[in-house]
């Protein structure tokens, strides 16, 4: 064996030994890797003056006209959506049910919201939700998919890869929770469009409860403190607008319904910037129709006392029109 061969063979063995030793020392006792990226949501709200209308109620039977009229009372869509805005519309598409059962946002109201955003010059309009039932069939059977596509919006389905940890820092959701963040990453405006519904546990599901649908993970644990959770939502997200779709009202057997006898006409659309005020109004409407239920509900009280909104909707600037 010549010297060159000797050096080559002993050298390669030595290199492997030294490489293993260096690698071992470098990796030794490294802390558990925290790969979780924490996202935060910016505020999507637009600033209003003290005398600006904060909530508008439209009553009548044509959903499209109601939405337009209510927005008109608020000063028009142009106040909220600007040309080139990227608008995300969070609907309630929770269940695999036809619109007439009143468990999901009505396609007519959604169509009107999308049309208004287009008129305002929005660059992109995305309709989204993370349904309880299978996503594709829920968007399909609720009529929301067709309505959104026909009106010129896109659908964002809750692909597992689109979820990220959102820092909430609320009273009940104190830290982070997995959220369907994907559609919101590039959004400049956010509009929540929620139906007015009975709910078995928290009495009513309206524009505040609607944001529940954006959360994933073990959200079935929320029911252990449902009012605390829902009152964290106006802290978690500051939408541009919320729309309460009271065209049809699910008055019992909520939130799933399932029978036409569970649904009553509500003939109302409410638009507002304060989801607590809108929901306080909505709960009065629901209670008036079904003639039962407590005077107020826990999450409205909690959100109000935390200063996240105004439960006394009459004390702010509001309008009502009948068409």
């Amino acid at each position: 064996m010549d010297r060159r061969e000797f050096l080559k063979r002993v050298g390669s063995t030595g290199a492997v030994a030294i490489g293993a030793a260096i690698g071992g020392v470098m990796l030794h006792n490294r802390p558990v890797l925290d790969r979780v990226r924490r996202q935060t949501l910016p505020s999507f709200a637009v600033s209003l003056g003290a005398n600006d209308v904060r909530m508008a109620v439209a009553r009548g039977t044509q959903p499209d006209a109601l939405l337009r009229a209510a927005l008109g009372e608020m000063g028009g869509i142009g106040r909220f959506v600007k040309p080139n805005d990227h608008v995300v519309i969070k609907v309630n598409a929770a269940f695999d049910r036809p619109p007439r059962l009143g468990t999901t946002t009505s396609p007519e109201v959604l169509t009107a919201v999308v049309a208004q955003c287009r008129e305002a010059g929005a660059r992109k309009i995305v309709v989204t939700d993370n349904p309880i039932n299978q996503p594709e069939s829920s968007f399909h059977k609720s009529g929301i998919r067709q309505a959104a596509l026909d009106a010129g919006a896109e659908i964002a389905y809750p692909f597992a890869s689109q979820f990220e940890e959102l820092y909430i820092g609320g009273e009940t959701l104190t830290d982070t929770w997995p959220m369907f963040f994907g559609p919101f990453a590039r959004a400049t405006k956010v509009i929540g469009v929620a139906p007015l519904k009975d709910h078995n546990l928290c009495y009513a599901s309206m524009t505040m409860k609607n944001w529940y649908g954006l959360l994933g993970g073990g959200r079935n644990r929320f029911h252990q403190n449902i009012h605390g959770i829902i009152s964290d939502f106006p802290h978690m997200i500051k939408p541009t607008l919320v729309v309460l779709d009271g065209t049809r009202v699910l008055v019992r057997n909520g939130p799933t319904g399932g029978s036409l006898s569970d649904v009553a006409p509500g003939d109302t659309v409410v638009v507002g910037v304060d989801m607590v005020a809108v929901d306080a109004f909505g709960y009065e409407l629901l209670r008036g129709i079904r003639q039962t239920g407590p005077e107020t509900i826990g999450y409205l009280e909690q959100a109000h006392s935390r200063g996240l909104g105004n439960r006394d909707w009459r004390s702010q600037v509001w309008r009502e029109v009948t068409i």
Partner: protein, 502 residues
């Protein structure tokens, strides 16, 4: 154009069609495509279910159509159409040895290749008693099942593009390993699955004796060079006495013969071939006896009768269990199309006969109220094609009532409002029937620190519960759920009912 080239085009077209059907077998793309056409056109499925049920279900008439080319040309299905065969063909071609002597050895007939006929014999005898087992190895059922349970989820893991919510299947690793084994065996013996195991290939091999066109070797022209065998897919010995039952009609030998001694001819003289499968009578008899004993061994294990498993919750529209086992070919099309991933392949829950048959697992998903897709794609009617009104007992079906899959029961030792002074009732929230089958009774308890706490404690109304399992699926007690659906109360059988009247 060489005939083998045309065959490759045919294989590519049929494989693409099969892959397309597999891709669109889901809610978003279904649109009335005949997604189970390959299964319906499978003659073994047609013949075996005709033996077990004495009928041909719906689309299974297509299996007669496939008999036409078989009776005219032989096992042309194996060489030109079968998507699983094409996978084996392609893998074997990629792995084929450059050394012609090694190839000649790889493509020569072995006695092992008679094994598929013994398997078929055992399966047919078991079928005579009402136990349908062909699906364990039928190539279309096997490739469909492998795609659904293992390959597509693997593709989704790599690309995150197949499902909105990731599907998972119990025992995907077993189904996946079996698939890799079948495909990987091509590196050892080309077309091992087709030559040695495939019960459909065996069926078509038996029928090949009737085919009118056959490969014929002109002994005057043949100089015995053996080149014809070097790419013979079926290992059917075209260089000697052709084993007709093994020939896939791949036509490679025609192209490879330098002397033009081989031709595909109408009604050639059969003296130069082995017409029937090369099976030993005593082995065949033994296989038949094994199939005969399989049935009592399986049934007297009790899994379908006295000791039926509470987890055997069958999809909506399923026929009663003994009839189900006569029909289900374990193709798992229902698992593919199920929108919630609740349908899972069974292992031994439904007994040894029920391996890979669909059962609902409420931890994985639940039965969507307004959905009957599983019955739409079932090729054999194990899950009948029912409508939504039929499932929900509406209109003309109101007399027969809703289809119930089982019944929900509370485990009060694990339920938060029952055992732990903690509000919950997600189960009531998601219960989809109206009025809800889950209802609550308010109670005020004194907590251990002396405070009054109002709780809603859930109950099941068994007259309303349909066993859809969404309560179990959404229960926050994630491991052993506090509300669980078991099979009792299912409407498909008369002996597993719960209530006197419903």
């Amino acid at each position: 154009m060489r005939i083998a080239r045309i065959r490759i085009v045919s294989q590519a077209v049929f494989f693409a069609l099969f892959a397309f059907f597999a891709f669109v077998t889901e809610f978003g793309h279904l649109r009335g495509y005949p997604v189970s056409l390959f299964l319906e056109a499978d003659p073994l499925v047609g013949i075996a279910t005709a033996i077990t049920t004495h009928s041909l279900y719906r689309g299974l008439l297509w299996s007669l159509v496939l008999l036409i080319p078989t009776l005219l040309l032989g096992r042309i299905f194996c060489g030109w159409i079968c998507p699983f065969g094409s996978i084996h063909h392609f893998t074997g071609w990629i792995a084929s040895n450059l050394n012609i002597r090694r190839r000649l050895i790889a493509n020569s007939y072995r006695p092992l290749y008679a094994f598929k006929y013994y398997l078929l014999a055992a399966m047919v005898v078991a079928a005579l008693f009402g136990s349908l087992q062909i699906g364990l190895l039928d190539p279309i059922a096997t490739v469909s099942r492998s795609l659904t349970v293992a390959i597509l989820p693997a593709l989704d893991t790599l690309t995150q593009s197949v499902y909105v919510r990731p599907y998972e299947f119990r025992l995907a690793w077993v189904v996946g390993f079996l698939f890799v084994f079948f495909v990987g065996m091509n590196l050892v013996i080309p077309r091992f699955f087709c030559r040695a195991l495939c019960p459909l290939g065996a069926t078509l091999g038996v029928l090949s004796r009737f085919s009118l066109w056959r490969i014929h070797r002109d002994i005057e022209k043949c100089n015995g060079c053996d080149l014809c065998r070097s790419f013979c897919e079926g290992a059917s010995d075209p260089q000697a006495k052709l084993r007709k039952s093994e020939c896939f009609v791949c036509m490679n030998c025609l192209d490879d013969c330098p002397e033009d001694a081989l031709a595909f001819r109408f009604l050639p003289d059969r003296s130069g071939e082995v017409t029937n499968p090369d099976v030993a009578r005593r082995r065949l008899l033994f296989a038949g006896v094994a199939g005969l004993l399989f049935f009592p061994f399986a049934r007297r294990s009790g899994a379908t009768t006295k000791d039926f498993d509470k987890q055997v919750i069958r999809p909506p529209g399923s026929v009663a269990e003994s009839l189900f086992l006569e029909r289900c070919i374990k193709c798992d099309q229902c698992l593919r199309v199920c929108p919630t991933n609740t349908l899972q392949p069974a292992l031994f829950e439904a007994g040894v006969e029920g391996i890979w048959t669909p059962i609902l697992n409420m931890r994985m998903g639940y039965c969507e109220l307004n959905c009957t897709l599983c019955g739409q794609v079932c090729p054999t009617g194990a899950i009948q094609r029912i409508s939504i009104p039929q499932k929900l007992g509406l209109g003309e079906f109101s007399e027969r009532g809703r289809v119930r899959l089982g019944t929900a029961f509370y485990d009060r030792g694990r339920c938060l409002p029952w055992a732990m002074d903690t509000p919950c009732v997600v189960c009531e929230e998601v219960c989809p029937v109206s009025p809800k089958a889950i209802f609550t009774r308010p109670v005020t308890v004194t907590t251990r620190i002396g405070q009054a706490l109002e709780l809603h404690r859930p109950y099941v109304d068994p007259t309303r519960c349909i066993g859809c399992g969404i309560c179990e699926h959404e229960c926050p007690v994630r491991d052993e759920r506090a509300v669980r659906v078991t099979a009792v109360g299912e409407t498909r059988s008369t002996d597993r009912r719960l209530l006197l009247t419903s």
